[in-house]
């Protein structure tokens, strides 16, 4: 598997939105003064009458999107993850999820891989916060191809969705003809020494670790969990049964994210030891994305240290 071509999932999002806009007139896009960073500007340039810049008011943006959804529009609402899931949590909860409205919250700049902006802009709790909301489906795609699939597929789901996207350009993992299914994890490899459950920008890191481990005669499989909720219990349990070691890795707090979700499934269905890699109950900091992944031990090297 070559991992040399890189693209940020926010870029894939912006480009896919433009394609979707052509197919479906009901798709509208809202942003909160970050369209150049979230890449919704790509849609805005093509469809200015279906793009709404709400200014720096994320709470207003979420509830406005809810109002749009009551009239049959399919709003995609975007800002940084810290402002979407964090600042507008109550609006997402009460105006979108409780009434089960058809709003697609696409949050970019998740995790420490935001980089230089530092802790205030590095959302590490969003998977945890979004996962507990009834009616909401939660996605965390790992590369360009998977992001395009999810952005398109959620337009066909009648209900609220949260998609976690990254600022950092990361390797393209899948062939453009790869088939995906909502709620179904992608298993890469069949190694039985360990399963590495990974999501978002950490999937490529897990794949790098997989190759390096093979050179040492250790054979692992990587499971890319792009749908955090509903989670693919079946694959998680199957892998726990088939492999000796279970590892999770994510650019998110070790509390309540992918690691938490995997532990919930396994503790109820097939109790085994789980090693969680993630940000350990601390805030992020400024630095280069790659430096931060190393510092917070959410890169390939951190996985190797577990063997």
């Amino acid at each position: 598997m070559k991992l040399d071509k890189k693209i940020a999932t926010r870029q894939s999002y912006g480009e896919m939105l433009k394609d979707l806009g052509k197919e479906n007139d009901n798709i509208i896009v809202l942003d909160a003064d970050l369209s150049t960073a979230t890449k919704t500007e790509i849609f805005a340039k093509e469809y200015p009458n279906r793009f709404f810049d709400m200014g720096i008011s994320e709470q207003d943006m979420m509830s406005t999107a809810a109002g749009f959804a009551t009239t049959g529009k399919i709003p995609y609402a975007s800002t940084f993850a810290v402002f979407a899931a964090g600042r507008a949590y109550d609006q997402i909860r009460n105006s979108i999820c409780y009434p089960n409205l058809n709003v697609k919250i696409c949050a970019t700049h998740a995790g420490v891989t935001v980089g230089e902006d530092g802790a205030t802009h590095q959302m590490l709790e969003d998977i945890a916060m979004m996962r507990v909301l009834p009616n909401l489906k939660v996605f965390s795609p790992s590369d360009d191809v998977e992001t395009r699939f999810i952005i398109k597929e959620i337009s066909k789901i009648n209900g609220p969705c949260y998609v976690r996207l990254a600022r950092l350009a990361t390797p393209v993992i899948y062939d453009k003809n790869e088939k995906f299914e909502i709620g179904k994890a992608k298993q890469i490899g069949k190694g039985e020494d360990a399963t590495i459950f990974a999501t978002g920008v950490c999937v490529a890191e897990a794949l790098k670790a997989k190759e390096l481990l093979e050179k040492r005669g250790i054979f692992v499989r990587v499971v890319d969990i792009h749908t955090i909720k509903p989670i693919d219990k079946e694959t998680i349990i199957k892998c726990a049964k088939e492999t000796k070691k279970i590892i999770t890795i994510e650019d998110h707090s070790i509390y309540g994210g992918l690691g938490g979700a995997v532990c919930e499934v396994l503790s109820e269905e097939y109790p085994v030891k789980v090693m969680r890699l993630g940000v350990k109950d601390t805030f992020g900091k400024s630095g280069k994305s790659t430096e931060l992944m190393k510092y917070f031990k959410i890169d390939a090297e951190a996985i190797l240290e577990l063997f």
């Binding site: 008011s57 709470q59 509830s63 809810a66 109002g67 009551t70 009239t71 109550d90 009434p99 089960n100």
Partner: protein, 276 residues
């Protein structure tokens, strides 16, 4: 004797007030004060102004109403029942486990409820989304949004006000139920906004000040809002909290308390004696 249009609407508002008291009494909890203050506003909207059909509550081209101050659900439910969206009998289930009439309005459970509300400050944003949608698709429907005067302490209301103005939503009419009281007391002493009219004016609204417990003034206000082009309207409706039940009027304890049996009888007697 011929009953005038105004008198007929006053009678309906009184019926709605009776049902507000009955509904809150049966539930043993709820918010009578703010419900009574906005009963005339809802009466004029649902029986005189809005283009709606209770037999087709989801009609695409209907006018919309967002009760941003969702705790005044007894007023909304009593109005919807009186207008024929569901049986008045159902009001007895308010706040009870097997009823669709939740403490705060749920659009998926109650016919005629256009938006789920409850967490204050969010309704105007949702109303904006509906109003922009109406304009995008040239649907021509109007959107009404009722805010509490305590509620406008929420910052999101002003984020939304900027949006209403930016998109020149002349099909949007905001009503502020200006009864001057909130849970902790007089609004001025809790955290006064000062000069509500000027605030909305500076946000780009056409502002209309009226007595919000006066049917004739309400009709006139909504008619003027309809004729306004190029900007949204805010009707600042001066009301009396607890209006119609003398011992509840201007008394903040009735914000969120149900009457006991004696109080209930007194209130119903007073309302039923109106117009006799």
């Amino acid at each position: 004797m011929k009953v005038t249009k105004i008198e007929a609407l006053e009678k309906i508002a009184n019926d709605i007030r009776i049902n507000i008291i009955k509904t809150v009494y049966n539930a043993g909890s709820g918010h009578p004060g703010g419900s009574l203050s906005c009963a005339d506003i809802l009466t004029v909207l649902y029986f005189n102004q809005m283009n709606i059909n209770p037999q087709d509550p989801k009609a695409e081209g209907r006018d919309r109403f967002v009760l941003s101050k969702g705790h005044c659900s007894p007023a909304l439910y009593s109005t919807l029942a009186r207008r024929g969206y569901f049986r008045e009998e159902d009001l007895k289930g308010f706040r009870k486990i097997n009823s669709n009439l939740q403490g705060h309005p749920d659009m998926n459970k109650v016919p005629g409820v256009d938006m789920t509300t409850g967490s204050l400050g969010q309704g105007l944003s949702a109303a904006n989304g509906m109003a922009i949608s109406s304009k995008m698709d040239s649907m021509g429907y109007r959107v009404y949004c009722l805010l509490g005067d305590g509620e406008i302490q929420e910052g999101q209301v002003w984020e939304a006000a900027m949006t209403s103005s930016k998109y020149k939503l002349d099909n949007l009419c905001v009503i502020v139920d200006n009864n001057n009281l909130q849970i902790d007391g007089d609004i001025k002493s809790v955290k006064g906004l000062n000069k509500i009219e000027q605030k909305f004016e500076s946000f780009g609204f056409n502002v209309i000040s009226i007595d919000g417990n006066n049917i004739e003034q309400l009709i006139d206000g909504f008619d003027r809002a309809k004729m306004t082009k190029g900007r949204p309207t805010a009707i600042i409706a001066k009301t009396v909290k607890g209006k119609g039940v003398s011992f509840m009027e201007n008394n903040v304890v009735w914000h969120g308390m149900a009457p006991k049996e004696e109080e209930y009888k007194l209130a119903i007697n007073e309302l039923e004696s109106n117009g006799k």
